[in-house]
């Protein structure tokens, strides 16, 4: 293709973006736009799938039948999100199995929050409240993302995430209003998950290498730091309401800014976990790899059976 043509295609593409017209799978798009989306959506899909593990860890130990059923339903929703996000990457020409292999080889990332262990029942509350809460904050703007299939998937995902967030906060409320042991359990979970939840918005704007381009393409609509501030502003009063203390001595309301000021994130910890040194990185990827390996014979059998059936029909 002549260079002039590419320039013209790019001009038309950006014009669509600027007019908030959605880009669809068969539309022309710059290669970088496609690659950025594949990276982001598959990362999102992997996060849903790996995210099943820390919560799956408590299904068999849920304290009563109702909590067990709700937790099962929630983790099942996450698997469903993973499924339609993998489908969204396929509309961009990526192959689901290749994408999954990238996760297993360590090439593809997933949200670092899932590399922290779930040590008590209260962690189910903290994850729903804070982790799904942060996920909603990230994902609501994605409902207006320029890429159609991703934006539409996000509409459905956000509805379910909002139910997850409420059930998490409800667990925390019950514990915070319970016995001293239960309240201590809730506070301990908040202490452990607060900072990792704030890290979920990614590096600070000044260190984020993808933000500027993604904003121009309207894949991203708000910066990491804006979203993180929003999370703090919304969550702090929720903690106060149920009598829990946010573990940040620098946290205070700034009248002038109309926002909370909060302490500096431990970025060494953040990068360390991203690099694979979190408490559970090894276990999480190992569990996913094992699931795929142990399931290989099942998938082969299903394919072999389907092929036999096809032959029978043809003859």
């Amino acid at each position: 293709m002549k260079e002039l043509d590419i320039n013209e295609l790019e001009r038309r593409f950006q014009e669509k973006i600027d007019k908030d017209i959605k880009i669809e799978p068969n539309d022309w798009m710059p290669d970088n736009y496609r690659q950025t989306l594949i990276r982001q959506i598959s990362q999102h899909a992997h996060s849903e799938i790996v995210g099943m593990l820390p919560e799956g860890n408590w299904i068999t130990r849920a304290p009563n039948l109702r909590r067990k059923a709700v937790l099962l339903a929630k983790v099942q929703d996450e698997a469903g999100h993973g499924l339609y996000l993998y489908s969204a990457t396929e509309t961009l020409g990526a192959d689901r199995e290749d994408t999954i292999d990238d996760l297993h080889s360590g090439k593809a990332k997933y949200s670092s929050i899932f590399n922290y262990p779930t040590l008590s029942w209260a962690d189910m509350g903290a994850i729903g409240w804070l982790v799904d809460g942060a996920a909603i904050m990230n994902q609501v703007p994605l409902c207006r993302c320029s890429y159609g299939p991703y934006a539409r998937a996000m509409v459905r995902v956000c509805k379910e995430e909002s139910f997850h967030q409420r059930q998490g906060y409800e667990i925390m409320t019950t514990l915070a209003n319970g016995t001293p042991e239960q309240k201590a359990m809730a506070q301990d979970a908040l202490n452990r998950f607060w900072w990792p939840a704030l890290m979920m918005f990614g590096p600070s704007d000044k260190d984020s290498k993808h933000t500027a381009q993604s904003m121009a393409w309207k894949i991203k609509r708000q910066t990491n730091d804006e979203l993180r501030q929003q999370m703090v502003d919304i969550t702090v009063p929720q903690a106060e309401l149920i009598g829990l203390t946010v573990p940040d001595p620098d946290l205070k309301w700034n009248e002038e800014r109309g926002h909370y000021d909060f302490g500096e994130i431990n970025w060494d910890e953040f990068w360390n976990v991203v690099k694979g040194n979190g408490p559970c990185n090894k276990e999480r990827v190992e569990a996913r790899r094992k699931a795929k390996e142990n399931g290989a014979w099942v998938r082969e059998a299903a394919n072999a059976y389907a092929a036999k059936q096809k032959m029978k029909k043809a003859s």
Binding site: G56, T60, N64, L65, L72, Q76, G82, K292, E300
Partner: protein, 250 residues
């Protein structure tokens, strides 16, 4: 209190409780994402059944015990599930075979129970039957696929059948509890149920090119509270929170 009815409900409810527990162990580890979702979904249905059955059992007992008291706070010898449902998950073939042998029993059982003279049981059966039809379709299709898939899958699932076969007769265990309820039209003939089960199992295993084991010995004990060593570990996990933090609201 209607002792026989209570006993029957606990047997019915414990099968759902323990099998639901086993299936939920798969969550996050399934061989493909679609099956992860399917097994979690079946587990969820079984937890729902447990809730309604044990709730009714508590009402029949009349001592103020809730479905959670019954599910989480009995001792090992008081659980009444069959040995089949407490068997470990093994590989996906073992899990699907265990599920199929159980579903082939549960589906006709609920088909009978929708006509129970006990309105509550009839209502629970009607709701559970809808779910169990899907469970049966799902597990039977997998047994066929794995049986008639590759050489490896055939061997794995045939071994699973050979190992689990010894726990199948117990599903049709009959004692004075069953005779009493049958005489009142609350439950129906176990013999009819067994005939239906045998026909279904034979037809599916034929399609799966699998052979029904000929070894005769059959275990029982679960319906009387005599379990395998596996149940103790299931209960250690299941009851952990209720035992470590007694008497709290969650």
């Amino acid at each position: 209190m209607d002792n026989a009815l209570f006993e029957y409900l606990v047997r019915l409810g414990d099968d759902s409780l323990i099998l639901g527990h086993r299936l939920s162990e798969w969550c996050g580890h399934g061989p493909i994402l679609e099956e992860d979702i399917a097994m979690t979904n079946i587990a969820l249905d079984l937890v729902g059944q447990t809730t309604s059955i044990l709730k009714y059992a508590g009402e029949v007992e009349g001592k103020g015990r809730t479905e959670d008291d019954l599910a989480f706070l009995r001792y090992e010898r008081e659980y009444r599930n069959t040995l089949l449902v407490e068997q470990p998950n093994g590989d996906f073939g073992v899990t699907m075979m265990r599920q199929f042998l159980f579903d082939a029993f549960r589906k006709p059982l609920f088909e009978q129970l929708v006509n129970s003279s006990d309105a509550q049981i009839a209502a629970i059966a009607a709701k559970s039957l809808k779910e169990t039809k899907y469970h049966f379709k799902h597990s039977a299709e997998w047994v066929i696929r794995l049986g008639d898939g590759t050489e490896e899958s055939h061997e794995r699932v045939q071994n699973a059948l050979n190992d689990l076969w010894r726990y199948t007769d117990e599903m049709f265990f009959t004692d004075e509890v069953d005779r009493d309820l049958e005489s009142r039209g609350i439950t129906f003939s176990m013999e009819d149920l067994k005939n239906t089960w045998q026909e279904t199992v034979k037809s599916v295993l034929d399609q799966a090119t699998l052979e029904i084991p000929t070894n005769g010995w059959q275990h029982d004990g679960g319906r009387k509270g005599l379990h395998s060593e596996h149940l103790g570990y299931i209960l250690a996990e299941l009851q952990y929170m209720q035992r470590a933090y007694p008497g709290m609201e969650w």
